[in-house]
Each structure stands twice: as structure tokens, then as C-alpha cells.
Symmetry: C2
DNA sequence: TGCAACTATCGAAGCGTTTCGATTGCGTTT
DNA sequence: AAACGCAATCGAAACGCTTCGATAGTTGCA
């Protein structure tokens, strides 16, 4: 394995010159740089990661703490893990994966052994053990999600409240006065994942502000539970003319099946919006208006903020990514009578 | 941040004594060890990861190359990633996540910069670009899955052929002579993922050996495609009395729905086995006999083999994990007439 | 009593970088 | 022609650990 010494020897310069040529931190004559680059090429030289970590001030590794439990919806989770990995690589950072059983001890370990420069926190719960650990550690960290007490933290997330308000606003503007919401399973809310309640509360608040009637159901994954949820909404809100889906793909698909089976046309009989889903919604029949949860948006920003923190402290903040709205024709004015 | 010097000073010994006390590589007086441990505790000392990598011969990090593409079934993928992470931590190894867009270049990068001690390869395709790279690199590596040309590689995987044969054998023993197979979507087979064809071929081979009639369908994820697949099987194999499911959770669920909807009782009218699924199958109604794909089995073994390779070269091999069979009462002798 | 064989400990030499002063050689300015 | 500034390069000191080869100090045995 070629070292910087070998490169220096082949190029006929000192090792510091090689280092500066490669880092660009001091000016180097064009001809020298060329010789060095040739030597690097010829020897297949790659700087030794360990030596770099030791001598330099950074490791170019982020820890990604991504717990995974029974309620986790794997596709969304994967999408975020992936987005963090890709965003990190774009800044020449690698990603070290920390899992559930090591959540807090692992953070302590990688931070205090100086294995990572910073931490990206995924799947943040309202009361999250990792918050306390990270506060103490003082290692640069970015939360993707917002814990109840975000004091002193740097957080990024989709603005779920605004997303819910946006859904309400679009439907209200179309004339709807009774809107149902199908959320995640009760377990998700119970576990304290931070975003489902934020969406739900935003939904109720925006609806109340516009004097709109609401109903809310939290089905499990299975078909019969979804069926019951739809029934429940119609019972609780007999004049319901619009539905907001804030749930997993399988549940959304089941809802669409049930509507079809009951002869309810979208959007003629019922307007439907899919909100904050991290999966594609254009394969539904019909395609649904969507307020997407774009993993790359939050993750890219999170990585940027982490990089900034590696360079030096930044002000704590909660950055909420504004929701977007994709029109696909699944909302219409309510039918005059049903 | 406390260094080994600080520990040595506080304990009143030299740094080499501290190092030996912590690594256990030379004998240290009990009293000295105690003083050192106290100092470590008191200072909250953690060895610097970079220094360790540089001075020692290993980094205690494995690269996990886990591509993710359109055909990837996220829950299974997650299960494997997680299992690798957990098995690695059990041996004091961390896991660096490499994604699709960096598949080969990332491997080269982390291996030749000596950032990782070894590589765990997930989601192996029959013809996988990573195989060639890894052969050249000479870095310890373990494939979870078996590429077409496994010459010189260390591979671990569930024995999918044996699993298929086991399914056939159980059904044949119960008296079935016409067995259908519902596989993954055509895209999965086309992409060259290694295990679906292995299962399929094992299925046909075992059936042929016992003179059993077969039919095979590859539905997409959506309900209508699954419905068509079931129809296709019954058309191709009118006397079909048993069904083997080797597909995603949603498809298996859809199949069960369709059977119910057609008034086909399991196992009275149709015996069903769920084969090589990495998800729980006991929530289906009725619960299905299952040959599970246990991520932890393969991953634990893979990590062990990686560790062995870090210590020194081992013989190339393909280790196939024998399938297990979970009885849940979803197979019965075929009905005398239909 | 002397010497071999341990045991417990120490000192120092790396490991491969980065980075902080030099130092050298030129073209400019006065 | 002396003095200066700047660009290009070098040498050496860290960084924090592991590990090899000494060196005392003890024990055991002849």
C-alpha cells in the first residue's frame, strides 16, 4: 500500500508538498502538482484514513442513529437512511450506522472515541433518550424530526403542521366543510414518534380555524381495520366529502380499494389527498393529489447543517421545510347532494 | 478529551502499561490494573479511534455494501442491514454503510484507504459488479447471497434450493400432485437478484424428481396482478391442490384475500406454504406453514467469517444455511374431489 | 550462592498524515 | 545595488496509540 512517502519520492518532492498539493491549502507550482498527480495515479495512492483522523481535525464520518422497532415503516425508514448516506457522500462524508440496541451507548462510544465528526439523528421521538446524551456530548448533531424539548438542538423536518393546514386549505377552498383524516395506527402515536401528532394537531387546528368539521381514525395495517376506519369516519361525520390520508402505503391502497368497492368515485363523490407519504402515489387509481414527504429535502439540509457545525458552532434552531403540493386531479368541489 | 497519557499519569504508570492493561496482551499486576481502571473511569477515557487504526493493524469497521433499487423489498432489506449491524457490534465492529451509487467506487475507496477491515456484501446479483472489484482488492469480504461465479469468494446464504425442495417434499408427503408457485415480479428475476431463480429452479427440480405437476406465476405488487396470477395457475394446472408462496408480504396477503373471496378454504381446499419470507407469517388467516428466511442466521455467520478473514486468509466457500420448517396447520391432504 | 526463568514494567520507535514555521530564489521597488 | 515581498518548497513536530526489546525485581532450583 503506497504511502505519502512513496508519492513524495516518485514525484521528487517532500511529503509536505504532496500533502499541500492534494489538499490545496497552499499554492503549488503547476508543474509540481502535475508530477505529484502522476505519482498518485501511478501508485494508486489513497491517504490512510486512520492517519488522517489522527493528524487532521476530522474523520469525515457521520454517525447515523436510526433505531428500528415494530412500528417502523421500513420503506420510509430506508428512504431516509439512503438520503442521509447520499447527502453525506456528496460532501465526502461516510456514514456509520448505529442501531436501536446501541442507541445511547453507541453515540457515546463513537463520539468520545472521535470516530465521527457529527451525528445525524433519525426517527426522533417526542421524548427521545438520545437528546440528553447528545446535549452532554457536545458533538455536532442534527435531528431529523423535532423532540418535545428542542432547546439547544439543531433540528430539520418537514413542516407537518403546515402540510396539514395546506391540505385543509386546498379542500376548504374547493368548498369542503367536512373532512376526514386517516392516520397511522394507534401504536405509532403511542410510541411517541414526533410527526404523526404534529400532523394530526395541525389538521384539527387548521380545520377549526376555518370552521370545518372533522373526524379521525387510526387503523391498523390489515384490511378489516381499514374498512372499519372508513365506516367510523362516515358514522362520525355523515356529510364527509373529503378525506386526507396520512398513513402507510398499504393502508392508503386499502382505502382506495374500499372506496372503489363501495362505488365511491374520486373525486366526484369524495375528494382525497395523500399527505406526507414518502412513497410514490401516482400509481393509485386515480392518482392522488399529494403533499409529499421528500426524504432528500430534509436529509440534504440536515447534512449541510452538520457540516456547518463541524466547522464551528452554529445557533440552535428548528428548521421546518415547507410542504409542496402536487395536483393530480383527486379533489373537486363537493357533490351538491349524496 | 483524555488521552492515554493522562491515564498513565493519573495511574502513575507508563503509557505502554496502560495499553497492555487495557488490551490484556501482557500480564499486569492486579493492583496496577485496578489503578489504571480507576483512572480510566475517572477521566472517562476512550481510546482515540484514529490513533488506534493507525498504530494497530485493524480499524474495527466493516463496510456494508447494500444497494437499493426499484425492485428492492424494503422490509427484507432493512432486516438484513440490521442483522449485519447487530452481529458486527457483537464482535465490537462498527458498520459503514455504502449505497448503490457508490457500489464499486466506494468499495475501492474504503478498502484502499484502510478505513475498513472487511466488507459484507448484501443483495448479491448473479452477475454483480462488486465481485470483480472485491477479487482485486484482496480485502476480507463475505457475500450474503451467491453470485453466478463464486470462485474464490466466501458466501453465505439460506439454501433456497433446499427450501424449495422441502416445501415440495412436505406437500408431496401429504399427497399433493399438482403444486403452484407464486414468485416475485418479473422485474426481480430480470434484475438478476440471485435467490429467486435459485428457489424457482429448486422448486421445479424437486417437483420433477417426484413426478409432481407445477405451474408458476410472477405477479406484480398490485391486487389485480395477483388475481390474474392465481387465475393463471388454476388455468395452467386445473387440479392444483397446493400453493407455495415465494413473494412479498403484500402479495402473500393479497393471495390470501383472493382465496377467501373465492371461498377456497386453507387447508381444506388448498394447502399453502409461505417460503423464504423474512417477515412474520403468523398474522395471516389462517396462519401459514412457513420456511422462514431468517436474516440473523446468514448475517451472524457472515460476520463470523469476516472476522476470521481479518485474522488471516480462509478457504473460499459457499456456506448454505439449511432451511427450517414451521408447522402452523396450513397443509392437509388434498380433498378427494373439487 | 549463583544463575536461569519468570513477571511486571518502562522507553522508544514507529504508524501516515497535517500543519506550522523556516528557507530559498526571484522579480520589484527605491 | 540593497532591501523587500512573494511564491514555492522543505523539515520537523505533533496526533495518540501499539508493540518490540530492554530492564529491574522475584522465585525456584541446583
Amino acid at each position: 500500500m503506497a504511502s505519502i512517502h512513496d508519492v513524495a519520492r516518485v514525484a521528487g518532492v517532500s511529503i509536505s508538498t504532496v500533502s499541500y498539493a492534494l489538499s490545496g491549502k497552499r499554492s503549488i507550482a503547476e508543474s509540481t502538482r502535475l508530477r505529484i498527480n502522476n505519482a498518485v495515479e501511478q501508485l494508486g495512492y489513497r491517504p490512510n484514513a486512520g492517519a488522517r483522523m489522527l493528524a487532521g481535525t476530522r474523520t469525515n464520518i457521520f454517525a447515523l442513529t436510526a433505531p428500528f422497532h415494530a412500528e417502523t415503516y421500513a420503506p420510509a425508514h430506508m428512504a431516509f437512511v439512503l438520503a442521509v448516506a447520499q447527502a453525506s457522500r456528496a460532501h465526502d462524508y461516510d456514514v456509520l450506522l448505529l442501531t436501536q440496541d446501541e442507541a445511547t451507548s453507541g453515540l457515546r462510544r463513537v463520539a468520545s472515541s472521535r470516530l465521527v465528526d457529527g451525528i445525524i439523528v433519525l426517527d426522533v421521538a417526542a421524548d427521545d433518550d438520545r437528546v440528553g446524551v447528545i446535549r452532554k456530548l457536545g458533538t455536532p448533531a442534527v435531528f431529523i424530526g423535532v423532540p418535545r424539548d428542542a432547546e439547544g438542538l439543531v433540528c430539520v423536518d418537514l413542516d407537518f403542521e403546515a402540510a396539514a393546514a395546506l391540505a385543509i386549505s386546498r379542500l376548504a377552498d374547493a368548498g369542503h366543510r367536512a373532512i376526514g383524516l386517516i392516520g397511522h395506527s394507534p401504536g405509532v402515536y403511542a410510541r411517541g414518534s414526533n410527526f404523526p401528532p404534529r400532523f394530526r394537531d395541525g389538521f384539527f387546528r387548521a380545520a377549526a380555524a376555518r370552521g370545518i368539521g372533522t373526524a379521525f381514525a387510526m387503523p391498523e395495517r390489515d384490511g378489516s381495520s381499514v374498512r372499519a376506519a372508513v365506516d367510523e369516519l362516515y358514522r362520525a361525520l355523515p356529510g364527509m366529502t373529503a378525506l386526507v390520508l396520512h398513513c402507510e402505503e398499504a393502508v392508503q391502497a386499502a382505502v382506495m380499494d374500499i372506496l372503489r368497492e363501495r362505488g365511491l368515485r374520486v373525486p366526484e363523490d369524495l375528494s382525497v389527498i395523500s399527505a406526507c407519504a414518502s412513497f410514490e402515489t401516482d400509481h393509485f387509481e386515480p392518482a392522488l393529489d399529494t403533499i409529499p414527504l421528500v426524504a432528500a429535502d430534509s436529509c440534504t439540509r440536515a447534512v449541510e447543517l452538520a457540516i456547518e457545525q463541524v466547522a464551528g458552532p452554529i445557533a440552535p434552531r428548528v428548521e421546518l421545510v415547507p410542504p409542496r403540493y402536487l395536483e393530480r386531479g383527486s379533489i373537486a368541489p363537493p357533490a351538491p347532494l349524496r
